[in-house]
Symmetry: C2
Amino acid sequence: MELISERGYRRTSLAAVAERAGLTQPGLLHHFPTKELLLVGVLEARDRWDLASAAAASDSWRTDTLAQLVDYNATRPGIVQTYTVLSADSVTEDHPARAFFETRFRTVRASMANVLRAEFGDTLPGGLTPEQAAPLLVAVMDGLQLQWLLDPEEVDMPAAFRDFVALLGGGSGRAEEPGEG
Amino acid sequence: MELISERGYRRTSLAAVAERAGLTQPGLLHHFPTKELLLVGVLEARDRWDLASAAAASDSWRTDTLAQLVDYNATRPGIVQTYTVLSADSVTEDHPARAFFETRFRTVRASMANVLRAEFGDTLPGGLTPEQAAPLLVAVMDGLQLQWLLDPEEVDMPAAFRDFVALLGGGSGRAEEPGEG
């Protein structure tokens, strides 16, 4: 994760990771046979840490916990870049990370539906069910990351995400000042 | 575009494109020095055709024209895959398609804001301004494509996009049957 945040996705090589981790390259390859699988391991570790820190901050996820996660992502472009590139790449034929992302998206959509149901019940103020809103919530997070990575001056990812949460909740955009986490 | 729809992004080689186009490989490389730049050319051509066919169908874009574009995209996974992989890849350092996507996203956000303003005025029923809603609209289109490419059985991209349009318009989800274009 250090190397990715220093160098970005493209310039993080297996050789550099082995050196930073104090492993030989064959030693590293024993655990992660390809760069893609190493990066899947990085993303899995990020998911675990994000879950653990959200659990430490409150007893359950809410849309404001998600907004705080988007704030945090805006401070770590290297890992967001890795997620964006690798998840998109995984749609190609026989990609080693495809199974990981298929499963992850199903899990995340189901979790988001649970978060929305706990907060809003069976119908959101904007009119959608939690199951209808969940893929949109995930899509907005992913799509905003792409726009923000390309154009961070132009795209205020945390503010845009809060606009979407307000829309789901039947609110009115950026009326409220975003809270600091 | 034929080759991409037959073989997908990863398996479309410059050699195969040259052969299909009746060019030598040096002849093709004269026009498109790398595979990335060739694919940018394909995406530019798609944008032009989509614009032309929308213009032929009506005198201006509306959110229902966009929903029809999403319907059409659901019939052409090869080109959607190419767009998804290449746009995400372009966020990496010194990528040859970065400038294309930076410009394209700015243009598309501005066009979407215009579409939304023409349809809803300065404030959408859901409470956002056209400029707040535009990056979300683009993000939903892109993010849904990724989820649909990975899991077409699970993710109904056209229905989910219409849910988002209903949310923007202050409607109530899938109450209306989607119209056929």
